[in-house]
């Protein structure tokens, strides 16, 4: 999968843009994400339902994965069942 690919959640409204990825399965709401929405929506897994926030970047602990949320939803993001976390960036003063 190349950087820039847009993935849609099968379980909620979340959409992400892939910035960086390893070989694992990217999921939202507990279900694998895909470039198209499935005909039948997947059930939202309560363990992965903390919600996604527009414009936040989500990363794994190993720094292999980075996803930008471009559309928010009720599900939360994971890779192979391991939850991703919000990347905290130190706010910079506006420079341009």
């Amino acid at each position: 999968m190349k950087p820039g690919t847009r993935l849609k959640s099968a379980a909620d409204d979340t959409e992400v843009m892939v910035i960086r990825t390893g070989g694992g399965t990217i999921e939202c709401g507990g279900a694998p994400m895909g470039e198209a929405k499935p005909a039948e929506p997947a059930a939202l897994n309560p363990d992965f339902s903390a919600g996604t926030l527009m414009g936040k970047r989500y990363v794994d602990a190993g720094g292999q994965y980075e996803l930008l949320c471009v559309k928010p939803g009720k599900g939360s993001l994971s890779v192979d069942g391991v939850a991703l976390i919000v990347k905290d960036a130190k706010p910079l003063p506006a420079s341009d």
Binding site: G55, K90, P93, S95
Partner: protein, 499 residues
């Protein structure tokens, strides 16, 4: 990846919020996105390979930038101040283009190059015609697609075509701007010309932050101050010469500037005197010095508001000196100082500034300038202190080599400017039979002062620096030559001193 994502996200999150004010007209993010989609259709119909802008800043710059991105065609704003022959040559390098702006001039100087020309008003009107299938269409030129092509100012040679890919520009914005982080009342005053990298990054970062842009197509200090007061501007970016003129005007005819919270500056060397006056005149504003290049998608190092205040308040000469520094690297880039052989230098050692990171393209249409490991040699000379603050001493090409000894014009100029009778100074290499090169200086006398004796100036340099830095040639001029961005044109001073 596509930089149009920035506008799509802004329009999705807040379609009815005003994103741009220009010539009294207000544009919402939703309207800007519709117009960008309309521009994409126009560009595709024209068959153009580039989208050029030959115009001052206006809504057309925003619409053309994102329209070109959607169409997968590089956006290439041109410097309308160039002479006809130079401009015609650049237009020839991007034919066939859709040129937005001065149609009469294009017809006159490049009428046979196959361009499609639309004056600003026509382009803006036609772009607003609805495009039926726009909503469901995927626009993706890929990460490797070129978003922007900018011709460098060519202060030393013919202009080079610097290339910025979607991945470079998105890397810069996503790494340095928090989405929708601006308050509803925030407004950024954009006055940098559209053909400058800071003009392009201002559009992208304001839109992604959700900060309303207020465009001032042509700079004047009165116009700038009246927009600050009228639109309650909170953020602004200026080049040093602009700030100097704004201060003088605000001194003469003060207006209400209490809304200004953040003033960023860059694009040339800021005289310490100007920044000190500015800090006193705008006590509620935080000042940020931004250092960057076209080839790095804008800012790579920052001296933030806290650094400015700490420098002003400190008794420590090391901390005080930071008022003249470029600040520290952004967390998303790496910066090193290297010598001529590429060896990494330690704190305090003078060399060339190298940078790498996602936002760094370092690439020209003709060839890439990147060296091993993706590092970009900026050709800027400088050093880093032990806390990572970077100090610029000039262009590497401006270094004076006297009898094998390298000296930077900056250190000589800094000493000259401590003389009460000297308002401005430029040091550059002059030919020397004995040494190959020697130091020549052009000086501007401060109003109301008498011209200091040549020996006095030589003694000043000898006492503060080394005897090798003592100028061989000293001349007084009415003013030094600067370009419209406040960049000192050293080659012209060199000519003057060489004669």
């Amino acid at each position: 990846m596509n930089i149009a994502l920035l506008l799509e996200m802004a329009a999705q999150a807040a379609p009815d919020r005003v994103g741009l004010v220009c010539d009294g007209k207000r544009w919402t993010y939703g309207e800007l996105l519709c117009a960008a989609r309309g521009a994409c259709a126009l560009i595709e119909r024209s068959g153009a390979h580039y989208v050029a802008l030959l115009d001052e800043s206006s809504e057309a710059a925003v619409i053309a930038l994102f329209g070109a991105a959607l169409a997968g065609v590089p956006y290439c704003p041109l410097n309308y101040r160039l002479a006809d022959a130079d401009l015609a040559a650049l237009l020839g390098r991007i034919a066939p283009a859709l040129v937005v702006g001065d149609g009469k001039r294009v017809a006159r100087i490049a009428g046979d190059q196959g361009h499609t020309v639309l004056p600003r008003r026509e382009f803006t009107l036609q772009a607003q015609e609805p495009v039926p299938e726009a909503e469901d269409r995927e626009y993706d030129p890929g990460a490797e697609g070129v978003a922007v092509q900018l011709f460098t100012s060519g202060t030393t040679a013919a202009p080079k075509a610097a290339i910025l890919r979607h991945s470079n520009l998105l890397g810069y914005i996503l790494g340095s701007v928090e989405f929708a982080s601006a308050d509803e009342d925030d407004a950024a005053l954009v006055v940098v010309p559209p053909y400058h990298i800071a003009g392009i990054s201002a559009i992208m970062s304001s839109i992604y932050a959700g900060r309303r842009m207020v465009m001032l197509p042509a700079f004047s200090p009165e116009g700038w101050l009246s927009l600050v007061a009228g639109e309650k501007v909170t953020n602004a970016f200026v080049v040093p010469t602009m700030l100097g003129r704004i201060i003088a005007e605000q001194d003469r005819n003060p207006v209400e500037t209490g809304s200004l919270r953040a003033i960023a500056y860059g694009g040339g060397k800021m005289p310490v005197e100007v920044i000190q006056k500015a800090l006193a005149l705008f006590p509620h504003a935080g000042f940020t010095n931004a250092y960057g290049l076209t080839e790095t998608s804008s800012t790579i190092a920052l001296l933030g508001p806290d650094d400015h205040r700490a420098a002003l308040a400190s008794d420590d000469p090391k901390v005080r000196a930071r008022l003249a520094s470029l600040g520290q690297p952004l967390p998303t880039v790496e910066i090193e100082i290297r010598d001529e052989d590429g060896k990494v230098l330690g704190p305090g050692e003078h060399g060339e500034i190298y940078v790498r990171g996602e936002q760094v393209s370092g690439e020209y249409k003709e060839k890439s300038a990147l060296v091993d490991g993706g590092w970009f040699p900026t050709r800027d000379a400088g050093y880093m202190d032990e806390d990572g603050y970077i100090f610029l001493s000039g262009r590497a090409d401006d270094v004076i080599v006297r009898g094998g000894e390298n000296m930077s014009p900056g250190e000589i100029e800094d000493v000259l400017l401590t003389h009460p009778a000297i308002a401005d100074a430029c040091a550059c290499a002059v030919p020397s039979v004995e040494w190959g090169e020697a130091v020549g200086v052009a000086l501007v006398l401060r109003d109301g002062h008498l011209e200091p004796a040549v020996d006095e100036i030589k003694e000043l340099i000898r006492a503060r620096l080394r005897s090798s830095r003592v100028p061989d040639r000293i001349t007084f001029v009415a003013e030094l030559p600067y370009n419209e961005m406040g960049k000192l044109l050293r080659r012209e001073v060199k000519k003057l001193l060489g004669d």
